[in-house]
C-alpha cells in the first residue's frame, strides 16, 4: 500500500505554528502525513506575549494552538519527545524510537545565550536557584513567582528582551538593575545618543542602568545572592535574569550532518543546500548571512516553505527582511528601522534632540530615500517613516514634514472647505463672520445663509463657533505680584 509521504517537523514554536497554518491553507495536511515533535509540553505558544505572561501570570492566553487543533487537522503532535539524531530517512528519538520521514523540516528555534560566568550554574549544569533566562512561559511564570515588592533583581543584558524583562520586574515592584556590556542600551537598534536618551527615561522610571559593565561572577552558595562585576564591585540581588540574546539551535543539525554556520544554511526557498527534502525555518536558520529573532520575517519564511512543500507557487522566495523593531515596554517609546548610523559619506543625517521632552529622533537618508530611522520617547512619526522606508518613496524635500505626516494641523487643512452645501458657504467665510461678532448658530446662519437649507451643517457650525470661542489661555500669574 502506498501511503501519503510523511512530513516530519522538529520543533513546535511560532515558526512551526505558522508553517502549519500555511500548510492547512494549501491543504498540505491532506497531502502529507504530518508529524510534529516538540520538546515543551503542549501546543505552540506565542512568544510575543511573554511579557504579558510575566505581567499577569496567565499562560493560557498565549497558547497559539492547543492539542485539539492538531487533532482536528489530522496532524500528529508528539510533545515532550526530543529528537537526538537521524539516519538516512529516519529520526531517532531520545526514547529510542525510529521515526521515518520523506520530508524533514527543522524548526529548532534558538537558545538563550548564557555567559560562562563562574557560579551561574550548579554542578549538574542547571542554572543556580534565583537565576533565570527569559525565554519560555515557564521562565516567565517562575520569574513572576520569585519577584516581590522589594526583591532585588538584576538583568544582564540591555537589549530588547532584557529591557522588557527589567520593566516587567520593575512593575512587579522589584528593585531592578540592568547590567549591560556595551556603552549604551539597545545598541543594535539605537545609536549612542538614542541609547542615552533611553537610559535617562528608564532611570526616571526607577530602574538602575549600568552600561559598559561586564559581569565577573555570580555570587551565592545555594542560590543567587549577588553579581560580581569586572571592576570588582558587587550588586546584591535575589533574582538574576540573563537576557544576553539568543543563538540559533543547531545541535541536532550538526549531529545529523546538515550544513551550518551560525544557523542552519538555507536558500531562498528554505531548502538546505545539497540535501534533498530537508528544510529549515525560523530562528534556527541562516539565510543570506542573517538569522532572525523576530516573528515577521519568520512568517514570511513559513509561507515560502509551505509553497515549496505543497508546490503551490514556484516563484515564492524569501528575499530577506528589513527589520522594524519597537521596544515593548509600557511608557517607554522606542522604534527603530534600518541603518542606525550613516554608512556612506553621502548619507544625510537628520537629528532632533529634545532633552526636556526626552525625545530623540533621527533619520538617515540616502539619495532622498529613507534608509534608517530611530525614535526614542515619541514614536508618533514611526508609522509614516516606515511607509517611506518600505515603499522607497522620495522623502519630502523638507525632511521635517515627515514628522508631521498625518497629524492634524494647518498643513492638512485644504485652503477652504465648503461647510454649507446647500448655500455654498465655505469655512473661511464662516470664520470671518464669527470674528465679526456672530456668536450663535442662528446669527451665523443669518449673516452667511449657512444652515438655512437642509440644516445638516448646523452641527459643524456649532463646532466652528465652539472652536473660535475657546478662550486664549492667559499667561500664568506671577507667583509674587510686582510691587
Amino acid at each position: 500500500m502506498i501511503g501519503k509521504p510523511r512530513l516530519a517537523i522538529v520543533g513546535n514554536g511560532m515558526a512551526t505554528s505558522r508553517l502549519l497554518d500555511e500548510l492547512v491553507q494549501r491543504r498540505g495536511h491532506e497531502r502529507f502525513d504530518v508529524v510534529v515533535f516538540g520538546e515543551e509540553p503542549g501546543g505552540a505558544y506565542n512568544r510575543i506575549l511573554l511579557s504579558k505572561a510575566l505581567a499577569d501570570g496567565r499562560s493560557e492566553e498565549i497558547v497559539l494552538k492547543d492539542a485539539c487543533w492538531y487533532e482536528q487537522h489530522g496532524i500528529e503532535l508528539r510533545s515532550g519527545e526530543r529528537i537526538v539524531g537521524a539516519k538516512g530517512r529516519t529520526l531517532l528519538t531520545e526514547a529510542g524510537a525510529v521515526e521515518p520521514f520523506d520530508k524533514l523540516v527543522l524548526a529548532l528555534g534558538s537558545v538563550p545565550i548564557v555567559p560562562p560566568l563562574p557560579g551561574i550554574r550548579r554542578e549538574d549544569g542547571s542554572l543556580k536557584p534565583g537565576a533565570y533566562v527569559f525565554r519560555t512561559v515557564d521562565d516567565c511564570l517562575s520569574i513572576r513567582a520569585a519577584a516581590r515588592r522589594g526583591t532585588k533583581a538584576v538583568v544582564i543584558g540591555g537589549g530588547l528582551l532584557g529591557l522588557e524583562a527589567a520593566k516587567g520586574l520593575c512593575d512587579l515592584g522589584a528593585d531592578t538593575t540592568v547590567v549591560h556590556l556595551m556603552p549604551t542600551l539597545m545598541e543594535r537598534q539605537l545609536d549612542a545618543t538614542g541609547g542615552e536618551f533611553l537610559a535617562t527615561k528608564l532611570t526616571s522610571l526607577g530602574m538602575s542602568i549600568r552600561t559598559s559593565t561586564s559581569s565577573k561572577a555570580v555570587l551565592g552558595e545555594e542560590r543567587v545572592e549577588g553579581l560580581l562585576l569586572s571592576d570588582d564591585s558587587r550588586i546584591a540581588c535575589d533574582l538574576l535574569v540573563v537576557a544576553c540574546g539568543v543563538r540559533p539551535r543547531i545541535d541536532l543539525a550538526q549531529a545529523i550532518g546538515v550544513p551550518t554556520e551560525r544557523g542552519i544554511l538555507v536558500d531562498d526557498r528554505m531548502r538546505v543546500p545539497g540535501l534533498a527534502d530537508i528544510f529549515a525555518v525560523g530562528e534556527c536558520c541562516q539565510h543570506r548571512g542573517s538569522c532572525y529573532g523576530i516573528v515577521a520575517p519568520i512568517w514570511e519564511q513559513a509561507k515560502v516553505l509551505a509553497d515549496e512543500l505543497c508546490a503551490t507557487d514556484d516563484r515564492a522566495a524569501f528575499a530577506g527582511y528589513r527589520l522594524y523593531t519597537k521596544l515593548k515596554v509600557a511608557d517607554v517609546e522606542v522604534a527603530s528601522l534600518g541603518a542606525i548610523e550613516a554608512e556612506t559619506a553621502e548619507d544625510e543625517v537628520v537629528q532632533i534632540r529634545e532633552p526636556h521632552r526626552g525625545v530623540y529622533r533621527k533619520l538617515i537618508v540616502r539619495d532622498g530615500r529613507l534608509v534608517g530611522a530611530q525614535f526614542v520617547g515619541d514614536t508618533q512619526a514611526a508609522a509614516a517613516a516606515l511607509r517611506y522606508f518600505d515603499r522607497g518613496d522620495q522623502l519630502p524635500e523638507n525632511r521635517l514634514e515627515l514628522f508631521c505626516d498625518g497629524a492634524v494641523g494647518a498643513t492638512s487643512e485644504p485652503v477652504d472647505v465648503e461647510i454649507c452645501n446647500c448655500r455654498n458657504v465655505g469655512k473661511k467665510r464662516l470664520e470671518e463672520a464669527i470674528v465679526g461678532g456672530c456668536d450663535s448658530v442662528e446669527s451665523l446662519s443669518c449673516a452667511t445663509g449657512a444652515g438655512t437649507g437642509c440644516g445638516s451643517c448646523r452641527g459643524e457650525l456649532a463646532r466652528l463657533l465652539a472652536q473660535r470661542r475657546r478662550p486664549v489661555p492667559k499667561p500664568e500669574a506671577p507667583i509674587a505680584a510686582a510691587p
Binding site: I48, K65, K326, Q380, A383, E413, C422
Partner: protein, 720 residues
C-alpha cells in the same frame, strides 16, 4: 417633452428621497404650477427634518427634458426610434424566446438594482425564475454591500445593515466609523454623531483619505488601502493583551472565539503598524475607548469593496463580539448600506443564490416554501445562478445572450469598465428599463421607459431594516410605465401571465409577505397600514400583532443555537498591490453632490454645476514629483485602462494614494482603472484597490496613444 400632469389643487404627500439608503422622509407638495416643492419631513425620525442637497434638488428630475417617455427600439441603421408599448414588448419577448430556444433558458439574464422597491425586486426574482426560467438573476447590490451581507450572515445567521435604529447612535460612547465618508454620502446621519459627541462621546474614523467625515472626527486613522483586516485583527490583539475582552459574553453568546484569538494574537502592534500605517498609540487609544462603554463599529464600502471584504467585516465583528458589544443598547456592528433600497433589494430574491426573505435557492425547505407561494413545483425552480461580475464575464457565444436590466447602470458601475462595455456590446438583446438614458443603454436594443420615484407606490427598506412607504405625489407623464407592469406584460408574452396578474404594488407586497413568512427576513406581519401608522416597521415581523424588531440580537443570534460565530480571518494582499511600474494605490468614492453612477444627479443643474467633472485627488508632494499642475490634467493608468482626469491637489490624501469619484461614465469612468478581482465569499469586486501610475496629461483633447478608449465609440448604437 410633456410635463408631468399634476394633482390640483395643491397637495402634500409624505414620501422618501429617491437616492440613498438613509431614505430621508420628504414632503412633496404639488400645486397648480409645474413646480414641485420638496421639504424635509420633520416627523420622520431617521432624518428628523434634515436632508442633503441631493434630496432638495431631486424634484428637478421630475421635469427633466432628458426623460424618455416612449419605448425605443433600434432602426436598421442602429439609431433609436420610438415604438409603441405593444411593439416593444413583443420584440423583447420574441427575442428572449428566440434566445431561450437557441441557447437554453440560462442564456437570458436579469440584472436588478438596490434602487427597486421591495415589490419590484421581489417580482424581478420571480420573473427570472418563473417566467424566464433562468438561474441568472443578480443585481447591483453585489457591488454595494454584499461583503458586509456575507459576513453578517456568517457571523449572526442573518444580515440586516444596522442591527439598531439610527437614533441609538446618539447614546454610543464611542463610534468607530470605518471606511465611510458619510458626511458626504449620507449627510443627515451626521446629526446623530453630533448628538453623540455632544454627550461626550468620541468619534473615530478609519479612512485612507482625510475626508469630510474624517475631519469631523476626534481621531482619524489614515490607514494604508487594503489593510483594514490587519487593523481589525490588531485591535483584537490589543483587546486581548490589555484584558479588555468580555469573557462572559464570549462564553454565553458566541462559539469559535478561541481559534479567532489564536490567529489574532499574531497581529502584534508593530507588525500592524507596518501593514496599516496606523500608529500603535492610536490603535490602543481606540480599543481602550471602545471597551469603556457602549460602542459601535459602522462600516462603509472602503473595507467591504475588497477581494477580502467579507473577511474584513468578519474581523470587525470578531472585535465587537470580543468586546461584548453586539446586541446591547447603543452598541454593535452596522453596515451603512448605500442604495435607497439596498437593504430590501438584497432580501427578496433578485440575488443569484437567494429567494425572498433571505431564503436560499439551494435549500430544499426554502425552495418548497417559495414554490408553493408561486404555485410551481420546487423542481421547476432553477438552482443558483451567476453573480453580477460573473454574469458579465459569461456574455458571449454559448453563454449569456439576452439581458434585462432594471434601474442600474452597469457600464459605469462594473469594475474594469472597458471590459464590461465590450461584454455588453456583445449581447444579442439588451433591454434597459429606466427613466433616463445612461451608459448601459448605449449598448441596448430596447429601452423601456419607467416611472420615477414620486410617481409610484411601493415599499423600501432603509439601512436600519425599517420598511417604509414610497407614496405617489404626482401622476406620471404619458408613456412611461411601472416596472411591475412591464414584468407582468412580458410574463404574459412568455406564457406565464397568470402568475403575474397583479393590479397594484400592494398585491405584490401581499404575496411577498407570504413568500417571506417564517424566513429570516420575515415581512409577513407588515402591512401598508402599519407602515403608515408606525413610521415604518422593522423586520423581522412574523405576524400582525408583532411589534417589529428595531434592535436585533438582544437575547439571541439567528443561528439555531442562538449563538454568534467567531470566524478566524487572516490578512492577505489585495489582488493588485502597487509595484514599481504602477506605484500608487487608486481608490474610489463619492461626492456629496452625486449619487452612484450619476445618471440622475448629473442631470440636476445645481449638482452638475457644483461638481461638473471627476477630479483625481493627488497629494501635493506626489503632484510635485510628477510635475502635475494644479490647473491641469493628469493621466492615471492602470493595467486595464487609462483615464485623463482634472487634478485636485490636496493634502487630504496620502502621498501614496490617489482618489477619484466613480459617478461618471465613458472616458471619465473611474472604473476603467479598477480591477475585477472578486471576493471569493461575496463575489464583490475589488473597487477600492488597484495600482496606477501618474503622468501629466495635455490640456487639449488630443491624447495620443495612451488615450482612454471611450466605451461609447465602440458601438454605432448611439442613443439619439
Amino acid at each position: 417633452m410633456q410635463l408631468p400632469t399634476l394633482h390640483a389643487p395643491a397637495t402634500t404627500v409624505r414620501t422618501h428621497c429617491p437616492y440613498c439608503a438613509f431614505q430621508c422622509g420628504m414632503r412633496l407638495t404639488t400645486g397648480d404650477a409645474a413646480a414641485v416643492t420638496i421639504a424635509p419631513d420633520a416627523e420622520f425620525p431617521v432624518n428628523a427634518g434634515q436632508m442633503c442637497v441631493k434630496g432638495f434638488t431631486s424634484g428637478d428630475l421630475l421635469s427633466s427634458p432628458d426623460r424618455v417617455t416612449s419605448p425605443l427600439l433600434r432602426d436598421a441603421a442602429g439609431a433609436w426610434r420610438e415604438a409603441s408599448w405593444a411593439e416593444a414588448l413583443d420584440f423583447v419577448a420574441q427575442e428572449f424566446i428566440r434566445i431561450r430556444q437557441a441557447d437554453g433558458p440560462a442564456a437570458v439574464a436579469c440584472y436588478g438594482s438596490g434602487a427597486l422597491t421591495n415589490e419590484k425586486a421581489y417580482l424581478l426574482g420571480k420573473f427570472a425564475r418563473v417566467a424566464l426560467k433562468t438561474p441568472n438573476v443578480d443585481y447591483n447590490g453585489r457591488y454595494c454591500m454584499s461583503s458586509a451581507a456575507a459576513a453578517q450572515n456568517a457571523a449572526f445567521g442573518v444580515d440586516r445593515g444596522l442591527n439598531f435604529p439610527v437614533e441609538d447612535i446618539a447614546g454610543a460612547r464611542t463610534v468607530l466609523l470605518w471606511g465611510s465618508n458619510c458626511a458626504d454620502t449620507l449627510p443627515p446621519i451626521m446629526q446623530w454623531f453630533d448628538k453623540q459627541r455632544a454627550a461626550a462621546g468620541e468619534l473615530f474614523v478609519v479612512d485612507p483619505r482625510r475626508s469630510a467625515t474624517a475631519r469631523a472626527a476626534d481621531l482619524h486613522l489614515q490607514l494604508t488601502p487594503g489593510s483594514d483586516l490587519a487593523l481589525a485583527n490588531g485591535m483584537l490583539f490589543v483587546a486581548v493583551e490589555e484584558n479588555l475582552i468580555d469573557r462572559d459574553y464570549l462564553a454565553e453568546r458566541t462559539v469559535g472565539f478561541e481559534q479567532v484569538r489564536q490567529l489574532a494574537m499574531q497581529y502584534y502592534p508593530p507588525h500592524v503598524e507596518r501593514l496599516t500605517g496606523v500608529r500603535e498609540s492610536d490603535l490602543r487609544r481606540v480599543v481602550r475607548q471602545m471597551a469603556s462603554g457602549p460602542s459601535m463599529l459602522l462600516s462603509g464600502r472602503g473595507p467591504e469593496q475588497q477581494s477580502k471584504g467579507t473577511d474584513t467585516v468578519l474581523a470587525m465583528i470578531n472585535l465587537m463580539l470580543a468586546l461584548g458589544k453586539i446586541g446591547k443598547p447603543s452598541s454593535g456592528y452596522g453596515c451603512l448600506t448605500g442604495q435607497g433600497n439596498g437593504q430590501g433589494g438584497r432580501e427578496h430574491g433578485q440575488k443569484a443564490d437567494q429567494l425572498p426573505g433571505y431564503r436560499l435557492i439551494e435549500n430544499d425547505a426554502d425552495r418548497e416554501h417559495v414554490a408553493r407561494v408561486w404555485n410551481v413545483t420546487p423542481e421547476d425552480l432553477p438552482r443558483k445562478g451567476l453573480s453580477a461580475t460573473e454574469s458579465v464575464g459569461a456574455i458571449g457565444p454559448g453563454g449569456i445572450r439576452g439581458w434585462l436590466s432594471l434601474a442600474n447602470d452597469l457600464a459605469v458601475s462594473a469594475p474594469n469598465a472597458n471590459w464590461a462595455g465590450e461584454r455588453l456590446a456583445d449581447l444579442e438583446c439588451l433591454v434597459v428599463c429606466d427613466s433616463f438614458p445612461n451608459e448601459t443603454s448605449r449598448y441596448a436594443h430596447a429601452f423601456l421607459p419607467t416611472l420615477q420615484w414620486a410617481e409610484e407606490e411601493g415599499t423600501m427598506t432603509n439601512l436600519e431594516g425599517r420598511v417604509i412607504r414610497r407614496r405617489p405625489a404626482l401622476l406620471p407623464p404619458d408613456g412611461p410605465q411601472s416596472d411591475l407592469w412591464i414584468l407582468r406584460e412580458l410574463a404574459e408574452r412568455l406564457g406565464e401571465g397568470d402568475r403575474f396578474a397583479f393590479d397594484s404594488p400592494a398585491e405584490v407586497f401581499d404575496e411577498l409577505r407570504e413568500a417571506t413568512r417564517g424566513a429570516r427576513a420575515d415581512y409577513s406581519g407588515i402591512t401598508y397600514q402599519r407602515i403608515d401608522n408606525e413610521e415604518g416597521v422593522f423586520w423581522p415581523c412574523p405576524d400582525e400583532s408583532h411589534p417589529g424588531t428595531p434592535c436585533m440580537f438582544e437575547t439571541r443570534f439567528a443561528y439555531s443555537d442562538g449563538r454568534a460565530r467567531c470566524v478566524p480571518v487572516a490578512h492577505r494582499p489585495a489582488g493588485e498591490e502597487p509595484d514599481e511600474a504602477y506605484p500608487y494605490w487608486f481608490t474610489t468614492g463619492r461626492y456629496r453632490e452625486h449619487y452612484n453612477t450619476g445618471a440622475q444627479t448629473r442631470r440636476v443643474a445645481k449638482l452638475a454645476e457644483a461638481k461638473p467633472v471627476p477630479r483625481l485627488q493627488v497629494h501635493p508632494r506626489t503632484a510635485r514629483r510628477h510635475g502635475l499642475d494644479a490647473d491641469g490634467y493628469v493621466l492615471a493608468e492602470s493595467r486595464r485602462g487609462a483615464v485623463r482626469f482634472r487634478i485636485e491637489i490636496t493634502p487630504d490624501t496620502r502621498p501614496d494614494v490617489v482618489f477619484a469619484p466613480f459617478h461618471w461614465g465613458g472616458r471619465d469612468a473611474a472604473n476603467v482603472l479598477t480591477s475585477a478581482t472578486l471576493d471569493p465569499k461575496s463575489r464583490m469586486p475589488e473597487f477600492k484597490i488597484s495600482a496606477v501610475r501618474l503622468s501629466p496629461a495635455p490640456d487639449e483633447e488630443e491624447l495620443g496613444e495612451a488615450a482612454p478608449v471611450d466605451a461609447s465609440q465602440r458601438t454605432r448604437k448611439e442613443l439619439v
